[in-house]
């Protein structure tokens, strides 16, 4: 009898210890989809690498809440039709604890109603105004912009010296470009600019020579473009092939893709003169970022991914840092608690301090504008130094004024 009781207690103790060990070993699963192929794939590969770097860093420090962090990611090809299925799979089959949004507005848009209905926290990844209809209160976007004025103002201010009065708008018919160009048109009106041409094109368009001709015929001073990588490349090629006309002094603005190093390398000198947004360019500095780039460059070289990684990687690392801080401070994985923390506190990241406004976008947006200058063909290393992406806005990083665009 005595032995039985002893045995039972021993058994109980072992079982408790074992289950504690098993439970402690249960990793924290963070689910996301990230384009590895498709139009956004070039950026997505670099972004995923940065997230993996963060995961390794945080696990080396003991993980979050004493548990290992695991990333579960799928390739969404930048296709909005695939993301609802992927995220439902992440939630119901992989049973993840936390969610990060896909890179890009277009694949994220279908998820907003889903996360709002299920009351889930979603960490945004470089989307633009994707929350403005659904108004989910647990959305936090890592991008340096907030609304269209944060973007267009920079574009216009950078060109103050060029005295432009008329503007043409060219935008892809998809969530990002439409959000951006809609806001940009309002800003243009407020600033007293006259719109002489506007065109929305289907996302799959590959030939822009007809649109170039039409733009040239309307003789604008400025051309504001909102496009995704595939079309951005085609537009830049069309500008160099057929020309947009001698009247244009300022070209660019919201062209996604011209920040991906492989695209910058392949377009080369065709980029010169274009004024476009970015998130980071050499010449800007934040504590911790240089160390990040050094480590990133080594890993990117091995993985055969964008070796410079200026655009997305530091901001993706920052998503990880924000989650780490929120989970560490609230000591929980409860989405409501985490959302409350993120709403009220300023987070320290390698891209500077991040604080959020009521809509989940940056409280203090700053969208750097650069002008491509002196870029030569087939040379990747030229972009390592400041100057090729010549910073023209904001004033704290500015290297000089915008020079006029020239085209035949």
């Amino acid at each position: 009898m005595k032995f039985a009781r002893l045995f039972a207690r021993l058994f109980g103790a072992i079982a408790l210890a074992a289950s504690a060990a098993v439970f402690a070993q249960q990793p924290i699963k963070i689910g996301l989809s990230m384009p590895q192929t498709g139009p956004l794939g070039g950026g997505g590969k670099a972004a995923l690498l940065a997230l993996q770097m963060w995961r390794d860093d945080v696990n080396a420090k003991g993980g979050m809440l004493g548990r290992k962090v695991e990333l579960i990611s799928y390739d969404d090809q930048g296709n909005p039709a695939l993301t609802p299925g992927i995220y439902t799979k992440l939630l119901d089959i992989d049973k993840v604890d936390l969610l990060i949004a896909p890179y890009g507005t277009v694949p994220t848009a279908p998820l907003m109603p889903l996360v709002k209905q299920r009351g889930l926290l979603l960490m945004g990844n470089f989307s633009f105004q994707v929350n403005h209809t659904v108004k989910h209160d647990m959305w936090f976007n890592n991008a340096p912009w907030a609304d269209a004025s944060s973007w267009f103002d920079g574009f216009f201010l950078a060109s103050k010296g060029l005295n432009g009065k008329t503007v043409a708008f060219l935008a892809a018919d998809q969530e990002f470009a439409q959000n951006l160009v809609g806001g940009a048109k309002e800003q243009a009106k407020k600033l007293g600019l006259k719109t002489v041409y506007e065109q929305n094109y289907p996302p799959a368009t590959v030939d822009f020579s007809a649109m170039m001709r039409a733009i040239r015929a309307s003789k604008p001073d400025m051309v504001f473009v909102a496009s995704y990588p595939g079309d951005s490349v085609a537009i830049v090629r069309a500008v160099n092939e057929v020309g947009v006309g001698p009247s244009v002094k300022l070209f660019g603005g919201g062209m996604v893709g011209l920040q991906f190093t492989p695209i910058m390398e392949s377009l080369g000198s065709q980029l010169n003169g274009i004024v476009n947004y970015t998130s980071f360019a050499p010449g800007m500095d934040f504590p911790g970022i240089k160390d990040f780039f050094d480590r990133y460059a080594k890993k990117a070289g091995d993985a055969k991914v964008d070796p410079l990684g200026f655009y997305l990687p530091p901001f993706n690392y920052a998503i990880g840092q924000m989650l780490e801080q929120a989970v560490g401070a609230t000591k929980s994985l409860d989405h409501k608690k985490l959302a409350e923390y993120l709403r009220k506190n300023e987070m320290k990241t390698i891209v500077g301090p991040i604080a959020f406004g009521p809509d989940g976008e940056r409280a203090k947006p700053v969208v750097p504008m650069i002008q491509f200058r002196g870029v030569v063909d087939k040379n990747l290393d030229q972009f390592r130094q400041p100057g090729k992406q010549f910073i023209v806005y904001p004033s704290q990083y500015k290297s000089g004024e915008v020079t006029p665009f020239s085209s035949k």
């Binding site: 909005p80 609802p84 089959i93 848009a109 279908p110 109603p113 209905q117 439409q178 996302p203």
Partner: protein
Amino acid sequence: MTKRISMFWVGAAAALGLALFAAFSIKNEYFFFAGYVVLQFVVLATAWNILGGYAGYVNFGTSAFFGVGAYIAVMLIKFMNAPLALQIIAAAGVGALMGVSCGLLTLRLRGIFFSIATVAVAIILETVINNWRFVGGATGVQILRPPVMEPFDSYTKMIFVVAALLAIIAVATARYIQTSWIGRGLRAIRDNEEAAECAGVPTLKLKLLACAVSGALMGAIGAPLAMYQSFVEPASAFNLNYSVSALAMPIIGGTSHWIGPVIGAFLLGSVQQIVTVTITSELNVMVVGVLLVVFVVAAPDGIVGLFNKLWRKRPGAAKAP
């Protein structure tokens, strides 16, 4: 005869009961998410077969009716926040109208021309929607679901049961058409249209009826897509994959009997969902393509046909079922 009919209805009631039971006992949402897709294809395949299998007119424009159904729902939601039932009925009505008008325009065309004309209608409709800002254009629209109705505890489960209901309605309709004078007329048209005309079969009326019913069912199952996905955009709503799947499933299952599309939809649909979850979503299009080719070449009468052949080979089997 009465015994046979009531067997069907018993089976149908059992199927609905099973769906409801699943909705209340299975906890994992993903089952309903994937299950909805399979039921959706049961409706599409059955609807396609009414015109394609019974009458022999190969419609490649399934995606048009389906997409229009989804966008009618979107319009009603944006306009007046209409309930799901109204969306479905409206979509069915528009689908029927579309079916009749398409029929009038294209039924004069033979074989492949009819099929290509149906593809043309689908693409043109997609282009129109792409250009219509109110329903979101090429960008698409985000749809917020209304709060869930009692007694279901999640919207996905409710919409799964709705799909099950539509599937039963579709199959019952197909069965009725197949066994009635309408079915006989359609089969006569499929075998030899001119002879049927000469024999006094009202070919035009029957063809238009088949078009209308087929279109109505396809539109009806398109409507819940808006609420199911919470996001609708033309590229995926009008995707040609729907047309090819709606055609492949009856061919695989068997086009002569109403059970064929059901078998094909369950088989192909489930395989696609499993492949999507385990491997990659590309491969599921490959599955459709390969199975379509294999069955068209080797087993043109589908699984039903294979089953029939095996049945007849059994020693002592008196007559074919």
